[in-house]
Subunit: 434 residues, 2 copies
């Protein structure tokens, strides 16, 4: 049996998971791959007690792996952008194939990296960069290759989904759950990437490029986080038959491509609305296949290792293939990428959930609905509560029909200026995903 | 751009869907494949009004396609077993790659077909044979290649799932919904394959071989249909926090492989329990990745065509590859298949839902629970209803802990023989899928 030689850079959570799964499941992995996958070198600054390296040679210098003539495939699991980018480009320059789990790097520097790989005739595989162990990149790039993808929507950040699930099920406040998520190790000490949607935007950009055959354009994603989300809105959404999820949405419409990450009300009957806790899921709507959904653990040592190793096995099979016959990095042949534009958020039309805190006097609802009606924004549903004893203000919840931001902004501004309106009007986007 | 030449055999629902999607989406499909996918011949006994063939040459003789020197890939969509088997073996003998959606053929003759293909160095692709447009075969065979698969469970027959969903949501009887399913075109005039689980067994056998690396063994699947399912059991299951689904289950346990299709109570909180109507879904539990789920349309012209065309694109990429570097038919290298045995249903342990119709006299429950306790079968939950006015008998519903069939049979026999028991005791298996 031939042997394929892997150099593993980084021995953190995912690195040690990859090493351990390759050891434990070597028999089935090799029986599938038709060759022996062998780790010939590990680069790590410090040992990881979760990982018994045995006789495997270790270096502190990741670049030594990129230059090791024995290495066929370099696995980049050091994270970060600066050194990781240099390392991958160096590996490519030395004719190595690369496997990475680094979503930030692919989202922000993927075009440059894929181009360098193409010039050298090697492949950079990145299944583990989106949604951990779910083979979503393979599904879009190969499984759905017959389709014109219409849209995709995903829960691609487990930390955010855990927080939203707890807010809904236990009525807890955002800040309170965030502290627990940090204690459990789901959220980083600096949770900005997770809760402000930056991590989700990295993943969305990658999925959108695969779906629509466009270059990676991270700077064009509209991103809105969940840190300002109020528990009462999660509860009102539920009363209206919706769940609030922090979704990444990519959609092709007549004018271009929408790329956006924001809290979103989705109908509770959708399978995606029932994806809870730290789990991830992505719905992809193709014109031929219809809606398909992919669900699983989006993070963690072994789920991510599962995707890293699947990439290694795929590469092991194509080491001897001529580069033209490999699956292209972004699913489409590099000279066939589309220049269809990514739309600004102002050009995007969605439905809205509005929560207005209004003085409890006659005629308030009528004035508000008149403003929406004048703006030609239809109302789909309303919840009007009676005021509690001694309260002068009541929450008024309105689900609108689809409207562009500008039209909605103007109407909301007018409602905001009514003398009966108290505090800021809350607005959250609504998607039927039908 | 190179061209890959396809011969399409069969112009029924899936055949015409394949032709139409290839025409409509030719631009994106070719941009992904890096070559032009071209239908050079169609074999069909009669024209299909859903399909404008234009200049495409048509023959009535499917074997002419197998022998057409211009054809690279033969697509078998004629269905049935006898002619389809001969056709595929003839195509292989003539050095063609083959794509098929024929689950019965693969489940019953796949070992022979794959062996013939291996000898000739060609590939037989069958993504469309299981769960229509969901790329489940690719997911197990390639996406989860790092994993020792522990179990999988799937809703792989849309007709059956539609019937169960209607029984639950509208309290309708099985026979009544079946007639509607036939009118809507979901169920065949002879619905046996769907409702007795034979179709699901075909698909389960294929998935199990990919998951565990074992030869196809259709004759060893235990199959129980849904035609005897009573609407009241669907309702009681719901009260207990479960849904009844017609599942195909494959599990590796210490002694071997379980392969079984039967109505199953599963906890309502599982995502799989929320897959309704004609949709399909499969959960795969790997030791590294954990549980992943794949959901989508399991049948229909274009969803199935989506899978057929994905196979064509994959094959187009590997036409020039040496056979050793292709993905093996059953995921594992042919010389690495395992001879681990498939267990008989007597060796399988599951929990059970029991419905006993019992005379409404004191001490009945105590006698029944004593029998179960003597057999060392624990009770997880009980529903005991008061008798309606004028009724002498009440339903008594019991959820048991896990037990092998023999032990349960003996206990149920004893309960059946109690003078207080009326009619047959209903038993349905329960799986936590945890």
């Amino acid at each position: 049996m031939n042997s394929v030689k892997v150099g593993l850079c980084g021995l953190g959570t995912v690195g040690s998971g990859t090493f351990n799964v390759l050891q434990r499941n070597g028999d089935v992995i090799n029986a599938r791959a038709g060759c022996r996958i062998e780790i010939v070198q590990v680069a790590s600054r410090r040992p990881n007690p979760d990982c018994q390296l045995g006789d495997t040679p270790v270096t502190e210098d990741v670049f030594a792996v990129a230059r090791n003539p024995d290495v066929d495939i370099l696995v980049e699991l050091i994270g970060g952008i600066t050194v990781a980018r240099e390392l991958i480009l160096d590996a490519i320059a030395h004719g190595k194939h690369v496997v990475t789990a680094n979503k930030a790097l692919i989202a922000e520097h993927g075009n440059e990296i894929f181009n360098a790989a193409r010039v050298k005739g090697v492949t950079v595989a990145f299944e583990a960069s989106v949604a951990g162990g779910i083979p979503i990149i393979k599904a879009i790039r190969e499984g759905l290759s017959a389709n014109r993808i219409e849209w995709l929507a995903g829960i691609v950040n487990g930390t955010g989904n855990f927080i939203l699930t707890e807010m809904r099920d236990k009525g807890r406040a955002f800040d309170d759950v965030l502290v627990e998520a940090q204690q459990r190790g789901y959220a980083e000490a600096d949770p900005t990437f997770d809760v402000e949607g930056i991590d989700a935007a990295h993943k969305l950009v990658i999925l959108a490029s695969l779906a629509f055959g466009i270059p990676l354009q991270f700077e064009k994603v509209f991103t809105e986080g969940i840190s300002n989300l109020d528990t009462q809105d999660v509860a009102y959404a539920r009363q209206l038959g919706y769940q609030i999820k922090h979704l990444g949405i990519a959609r092709r419409n007549n004018g271009g491509i929408e790329l956006r990450v924001h809290p979103t009300l989705i109908p509770r009957k959708r399978l995606l609305a029932n994806v809870d806790g730290v789990m991830n899921a992505v719905v992809v709507k193709g014109d031929a296949v219809g809606p398909t959904l992919y669900y699983g653990p989006g993070a963690g040592a072994e789920p991510t290792a599962s995707a890293v190793i699947a990439d290694i096995v795929d590469l092991a099979r194509t080491l001897t293939a001529d580069p033209e016959h490999r699956v292209p990095h972004l699913g489409f042949q590099p000279d066939q990428l589309s220049d269809i534009q990514v739309l600004s958020i102002e050009q995007v039309e969605t439905a809205y959930y509005l929560r207005i805190t209004a003085r409890d006097v006659p005629g308030v609802l009528s004035k508000i609905t008149q403003i929406l009606s004048d703006a030609k924004i239809s109302i789909e549903a309303v919840i009007q509560k009676e005021a509690d004893d001694g309260e002068d203000y009541v929450p008024l919840i309105i689900l609108t029909d689809r409207a562009v931001v500008k039209k909605l902004d103007e109407a909301v501004d007018k409602i905001q200026q009514l003398p009966t309106t108290e505090g800021d009007i809350v607005r959250i986007r609504v998607e039927s995903l039908g």
